[in-house]
Symmetry: D2
């Protein structure tokens, strides 16, 4: 950490900072420039987390030279993390395909979809039983009934189940049915929920918040990891920009950036990342080419009758075609 002093900082202001830091058993390194003084801090900076150095008199700004995440960092864990979910290995080199409807709507819908996506090459089934909706008047999911239908689909097909958990109250129920707990974009900084899924030890797919930086996203992963759960995968699902032709702007840059900074697997979600089924195949291929460890795709037997997110859902035929083009069959 480096403290840049104001041009006008006085000697006693600098001394007060030095005293504060040394009282914490850290060493300081003072560099007097022609215009201003810079104070470097040497040692374990975690003791400084809650000292508001920016507020000390004479301070211009604080510059952090190390990343705030630790357990999520590749420096801390040089080898890539591989998450095992039954026979599925996420992060092991071969992209994993997760597919299914936005929401579980009926027994027929989920079973038909499960069989079809399995036949086409998927190894995980997605489907929401609890749905976060911006309107309180929209369909909110089948809840436990939906979870039971997912379990039935797993039993029939062997697909692993990925489904969203929205709050700590329903977490025990969701965790009983799910193989992978999904944390949605709107909950990326629901810290209470992050800690609770951390305690379960189950695989977690953490979606990026709609305006989250990569650093904040990794800090949210850190919340889960620091509860003792190493099974965290990240999911890039697009960020909000001013562009209107697409629902979100997929940030594929995030894939190589995370591969550099972290050891955690990254899944891409071109369905939410574009919001338009027509653009999903191109962006699925781009995501794999960028280095994604897998895809999560919305697939519906009849998108025109989907209860949510129909416009971004592939039909069973479109999904099968995409799998062929990706060489997954």
């Amino acid at each position: 950490m480096v403290i840049v002093m104001q041009k006008t900082a006085r000697a006693e202001e600098i001394q007060k900072i030095v005293d504060t830091i040394e009282a914490l058993q850290l060493r300081v390194h003072i560099s007097e420039g022609t215009e201003r003084t810079i104070v470097g801090i040497i040692g374990n900076k975690s003791v400084l987390t809650d000292i508001p150095l920016e507020s000390f008199d004479g301070v211009e700004k604080i510059v952090h030279v190390t990343h705030p995440f630790k357990m999520a960092s590749r420096e801390f864990h040089p080898e890539p993390t591989i998450i095992e979910v039954g026979n599925v290995r996420i992060g092991a080199g071969t992209p994993v395909i997760m597919a299914g409807p936005c929401a579980v709507e009926s027994r027929e819908q989920i079973l038909q979809t499960a069989h079809a996506v399995k036949a086409a090459g998927a190894t995980c089934l997605r489907g929401g039983a609890f749905k976060p909706r911006s309107s309180p008047y929209s369909f909110q999911g089948l809840k436990e009934e939906g979870l039971k239908l997912l379990a039935e689909a797993r039993k029939e097909t062997g697909l692993a189940i990925v489904t969203e958990v929205m709050d700590p109250v329903n977490l025990p129920m969701v965790a009983e049915y799910a193989d992978i707990l999904q944390i949605g974009a709107r909950n990326m900084q629901n810290f209470h929920l992050l800690k609770e899924v951390g305690k379960t030890g189950k695989p977690v797919m953490l979606k990026r918040g709609i305006a989250a930086t990569i650093e904040e996203w990794l800090m949210s992963a850190e919340y889960i990891l620091s509860e003792g759960n190493p099974n965290v995968m990240l999911c890039e699902r697009g960020i909000r920009t001013f562009e209107k032709y697409t629902r979100n702007t997929m940030d594929l840059n995030a894939i190589p950036v995370i591969k550099h900074l972290s050891h955690l697997p990254v899944i891409a979600d071109p369905s939410h990342g574009t919001g338009v089924a027509r653009y999903v195949p191109a962006m699925s291929k781009a995501s794999i080419a960028a280095g994604a460890d897998g895809l999560i795709l919305e697939v519906h037997p009849n998108p025109a009758k989907a209860m949510s997110d129909g416009p971004q859902s592939l039909t069973l035929e479109q999904f099968d075609q995409l799998m062929k083009e990706l060489g997954n069959r």
Copy 2:
């Protein structure tokens, strides 16, 4: 609602849409242009909420001509809402001042601050007992001990207490101590929590999400209102942009926009909106001039020792000076 058909839409595609809509007891109005057909829908569109018309064959796009929020809308409730918290009336014309530290840190800190902000003209005391922090390694608040200290400060000063609730599990405890329940920016779309605070009936201050549109923000208010709780105030606390000299970009446009669209009071938070104490006075004045129903300000006896958000906290003296300039004393 208006459905714009593709140029290439066929007659049977248009008919299928007409049939779907008429089956829901709505009327359609077809307008055949030189290039494409437009289908207008007449009647109560709420029955269409979960019909994915965008996915029907031949559809180019759907245009919504009415707002999705109802109870939050000024059309629904033409008179401005006034929220009464003890003797404090929020939305009644005179700006309400809420002030206090980011986090409750100690008995001495909160009592000293409470007395000082009361003397300077504040009528509500802010202070976090549960703190959302992007790092799991940062100070997370004094929790119930902090709530008890706030209650003590209320007893001594008569100030109403506004404090954040972060999750449904701790809601009963927070609701026992707080006069106004604050929902933080990161939880603006934590729908489970919104419903639960809706059920309490207590005054709620709903902060705008860091990348939320005004429409989404009002939809989140709708979640609380639709549970039967009319005591919702909104809080503009800045949105994320690419600007780096400030922590967030205050969107003061939102104040007259909300006054036009909704009947709910709006509070401005220049402390988070700028992130820099030096800019808080100017933006406090601007917020009031834009029509805000109140301010929420971070004030700390010694910002250089604050355990969070020190750089944006006013000292007791700076706060007193600002109150004088605002004519609040």
Copy 3:
């Protein structure tokens, strides 16, 4: 075009709009809903371009149902445009590789780079002679001397030259040397310059503005096309977001979106799109997978001595390796 009236609109306000539109020889189609009236307009709406219908009394909003671009639209020109630059065909199916330094710095630098990128598979040489720099104190390019060095490199290698033109005053000089005129992101809406490059008839590469929507970008292409120059290619080079680990956020969604909306070729620029050489190979592959018609890449014999944009430049060896991985050699 659809005009949504306010709930409170009076009959005479609606009539005034109808009269205005019919006076322009357009037809109207009125749809009276339960809550409000909608006025559809039928016919060639271009005569309405400068009528501010939003300002008429009683109007809530105007909804455009067609795209504002015409000559850039795929509806207008269904076949993809192929641009021929000597032997290079852009948009013909095989991705075209453009490579070279950010700025032309010396005869040795540009000739060495030109030979190397040609050997590795590039067919166009990039290099700036006029450099837009945010600081007036930074290196601004070798100007005409740089153009002459590019011409010499073309003579030696046969590579086509792509170089930026920044203003109409220097356009004749740049057009004399360049095979492809590059319009930089900062000039995407420099309309005077767009018209002037339109008049030259030369191939133009139009970079996307740092916060431009795809619609605005296509409208800027329309400026060039409408001057009679059909040789326009678009270049996605990243947009500005709040993310800090990368210089820009590459919007690869834009590639399939433009392929759908327009017939113009799209080139991807992962060097500016990421700002970090380490991430360029992954994003080059992703761009091609998304459907880009080509790549433009910064390559420098010694990035540590580059006079601009060194951090995002590949070395000659890294470029050669990437070409092998892309199957271009």
Copy 4:
């Protein structure tokens, strides 16, 4: 400037940097931490502008501790700049009001508006003769005829004229008629144009680019200042965000930030900043309260017949009313 080395940096990599810096007559200050080495640079860093230190082997990142702008900086010029335009003094404490139509449309329109805004308290007349329009098919302004009408309005009323110059080719003509040369948001980084208006010595109003940071905006001012023209005022006109209820998001934070960083006057433009006439009065008051040195407002005798930007134009009566509320009459 501080160079943060990678954890894995080798001694010879550090030495190479030290040698490079010392060869430029600068001093280095090495601070060896427990994890990594930091190299501080002492002396006049302008000689480093074009050395790509980020690209040196072993470098993690470069941290700039001083602002890149010099002549625009308050450190360089502690007293506020006052710009004199005839009798009008901009930056002298009393807010200056500039008002008029988006575009000059006719003799009658501009003269009527000029007399009315003068009577209401304005001292400058705005009006575009050259109009930047995103569509080549939209009205582009009356050009020289418009400038002549502005000059006539000045002669009749004594109002100073502020009008946009879009390109260096027409600059001599515009400079002949204008009192204040306006650089539009789209041209904020049209560096050639900035230099040319710098050479004229005339007062310049530099609008902020739609996605420009404050630092970039001040760097563009630096381009004008460094050509010897000290008469630069800045104009905040809103930035692009994802919010849809307003055309742009006014960043009023920018006003106190610029007052802190720079000595240049700042004008606010609530017409473009909101895009909706209904919200202009509230944001005009907020802008003044935030510390703006003036307002530039769109006013039209009949917004429903304006050839551009009608929806954000005040009527003559609305403008008069606002002036009364601001205490300007």
